[in-house]
């Protein structure tokens, strides 16, 4: 016989893990953000000093600008392009599974390997500049100039994320009943119209989900910058999380780093709420 306590019993392992490794540490980090703490000496309460210092220093605004620029370069593409890729591979034809795998393949490659491979391709004498040279263009200084470094890194993220987001849309498309399409066909709808009036509106929950997920991923990106550019040239690809890493583990400013993390958390929260309310309004 079912009792509510049974549900808690089943949820307990996950709940304990979440409490121990996510929720409690988050609250501890929040507490830490009001202190001056370097691990080796006792934490000292400094109130809002860390937050004030962060907002006063140019470096935070610089990394926030970089992070938001990167987000604007990555998320719109990762929300829209995979829809079309999914529509392309959402059909029955010989070898379609191979094409799906082909798009998904970059997801399986680790970020560090991806960074190494793209790092070679982006080199001044790399294959990209070689190909551009064949048509009389370039060389482009992909990772060594302020203006090109973030678009280049965004390109790598898009290459790697396309298949991942495609999978969500594909699942979403395959859950749409075929009856709806058949009814539209009877009414004389073309393929394009079927996508515009049926597929895309019914994919709205998936679009919200991918927007939120890709926004969070873009705003938290760090590994790619760490491995490909070291945040350079001259901080042009340094992101907020990169700054958190530097402050926490190089400068041992744990309280200051925690405060930066919570400011980033606030930015992500605001963007997610805006996204949700916009979609809710449209749905109404």
């Amino acid at each position: 016989m079912y009792r509510p306590s049974h549900a808690w019993l089943f949820m307990a392992p996950a709940l304990i893990i979440m409490l121990a490794f996510s929720i409690i540490p988050s609250f501890m980090a929040l507490g830490l953000s009001f202190t001056d703490y370097n691990v080796f000496q006792k934490a000292q309460w400094v109130g809002l000093d860390n937050y004030r210092t962060i907002l006063r220093t140019g470096e935070f605004w610089n990394v926030l600008r970089n992070t938001l620029s990167y987000w604007l370069l990555v998320t719109p593409v990762l929300v829209t392009v995979p829809v079309f890729v999914a529509a392309l591979v959402n059909r029955e034809m010989p070898g379609i599974k191979f094409y799906r795998l082909l798009f998904y393949f970059p997801v399986l490659v680790s970020v560090v390997i991806t960074a190494l491979i793209w790092g070679w391709m982006f080199q001044s004498n790399g294959i990209l500049n070689y190909l551009l040279g064949l048509i009389g263009l370039g060389p482009v200084r992909w990772l060594t100039r302020r203006t090109t470094v973030l678009p280049s890194l965004a390109l790598v993220t898009i290459w790697q994320g396309l298949g991942y987001y495609m999978l969500f849309y594909l699942a979403g498309m395959q859950s749409i009943s075929l009856d709806v399409y058949e009814a539209a066909e009877l009414d004389g709808a073309t393929n394009w119209k079927k996508h515009i009036y049926i597929t895309f509106p019914l994919l709205r929950p998936v679009i919200f989900f991918t927007t939120v997920i890709s926004t969070m991923a873009a705003l938290k990106e760090f590994t790619l910058m760490m491995t490909m550019t070291g945040g350079g040239p001259i901080g042009a690809s340094k992101t907020v999380v990169y700054l958190v890493f530097e402050e926490a583990f190089e400068n041992l400013e744990m309280g200051y780093a925690s405060a930066i993390s919570f400011l980033l958390f606030a930015v992500i929260l605001v963007l997610t709420i805006i996204n949700k309310t916009t979609l809710d309004k449209e749905q109404e």
Partner: protein
């Protein structure tokens, strides 16, 4: 009779217990020793030194743990947060300075005063922060030149450069004639002190970078960069110099001789065209030395035993034995004088000759990092400013003024 027997039994029990107690006190002196990425390659060596130490000091037991280099700082911080720092730690120089400044390490100027003069003075100061030394130097490497004889010959040179001016002249010819780079700039914070420009004052209280010599160097670098002599990727740390050397994109590269073999692995033909030479010393006649340090945690409950072990690990005999296992150098003068280090003098193999030259360079070797807590941030400030000059045409004088201001804010 019974009473006598009982007294004897009690006496025997007391004696047994007292011996057991003494034994437990002696065995209680346990110290933990962390090394960085030395296991499993050097297991036999480290275990051998520990066994010898324990034999000499029967009351002390050493528990050795090896930590992967890449996670060393995070592991140390986690251990510190849990109040479980090891008694004896193997630390790199930058992290050591940070920990020393925060009071996490034992002052070795006092604790190891009896052995201080056993070490090379320029190397001993690697552990110095704000006038106090917080570690004993252990194994070291200094940087020297691996150069491509073929490329130099094709450009019309019969040997590598010996002065800074000559190195840039040769770089110009190599670039214009063969499209190959010579000098590269990677760590400006190590270049400036070689010409007498120090980032901070000797007392560590103020910036010392803004000098006419520094301005001249910044202007010269800009001139060389505009001529195309300094490659972006190496300047920005986005490519590895040793790989570019193996690809014959640079004609010489300054690094530790232990890395020369990487060229052999990547490009055997390039390695066989290579030889080794002294690093260009600069006006101060110094070369930078990369030091692995051994420090003792100030939280250690067995500080005396820990310091004793640190001294033992870094003594002449043990360092010499370690140096014979791989291409490293000892920080102790007596060990460096061993004839083992003259073996590669006439070798045609770049790594063997390099090992000999590295030992000869010991007299010029010195730790060129600023002896202050925020050394990592200070190095970044200076490197960022030179990059602004080269990549974004910032005025060199303004760059030096900004560097000076930012460094002063940190001190």
């Amino acid at each position: 009779m019974l009473r006598k027997k009982l007294s004897l039994i009690v006496l025997a029990l007391m004696l047994t217990l007292s011996f057991a107690f003494v034994g437990s006190v002696q065995a209680a002196t346990e110290i933990t020793f962390w090394t960085l990425s030395l296991s499993p390659t050097f297991d036999d060596y480290i275990n051998g030194v520990i066994a010898a130490f324990e034999a000499e000091n029967p009351g002390i037991k050493v528990n050795w743990q090896d930590i992967p280099h890449a996670v060393a700082e995070q592991r140390t911080l986690t251990a510190a947060a849990a109040n479980q720092l090891p008694d004896v730690m193997n630390l790199n120089t930058n992290f050591l300075k940070k920990l020393g400044a925060l009071g996490a390490l034992v002052d070795m100027d006092t604790a190891a005063a009896d052995v201080k003069d056993h070490y090379f003075p320029g190397i001993w100061k690697a552990g110095e922060v704000n006038g106090v030394t917080y570690a004993l130097p252990w194994y070291i490497t200094n940087s020297l030149m691996i150069y491509n004889k073929d490329l130099l010959a094709k450009a019309g040179f019969d040997g590598p450069p010996t002065t800074m001016e000559e190195s840039w002249e040769m770089s110009r010819v190599l670039y214009n004639k063969l499209g190959v780079y010579g000098n590269i700039i990677t760590s400006i914070h190590l270049q400036l002190p070689k010409e007498g420009v120090y980032l901070v004052s000797p007392d560590g209280k103020s910036a010392a970078i803004n000098t006419p010599k520094a301005l001249e160097m910044f202007r010269n670098y800009k001139k060389y960069y505009d001529e195309g002599l300094i490659p972006d990727e190496l300047l920005l740390g986005q490519a590895k110099g040793i790989e570019w050397y193996a690809q014959e994109r640079i004609a010489w590269f300054v690094t530790g001789p232990q890395l020369f073999r990487q060229v052999l692995d990547m490009a055997p033909d390039v390695y066989h065209k290579s030889s080794a030479a002294f690093d260009v010393l600069g006006s101060e006649e110094v070369v930078n030395v990369a030091v692995m340090n051994i420090a003792v945690a100030s939280t250690s409950k067995n500080q005396d035993a820990a310091v004793k072990f640190a001294k033992f690990m870094t003594n002449a005999e043990n360092q010499l034995a370690f140096s014979k296992l791989t291409a490293i150098l000892p920080s102790v003068i007596e060990a460096a004088n061993d004839e083992y280090f003259t073996a590669g003098k006439d070798s045609t193999d770049a790594a063997e000759l390099g090992h000999y030259i590295a030992a000869q360079q010991l007299q010029y070797s010195t730790d060129l990092y600023a002896p202050v807590e925020n050394v990592t941030r200070i190095n970044r400030i200076v490197n960022d400013e030179i990059k602004r000059v080269l990549l974004e045409d910032k005025d060199p004088a303004e760059a030096l003024r900004d560097a000076e201001r930012l460094i002063n804010e940190l001190l």
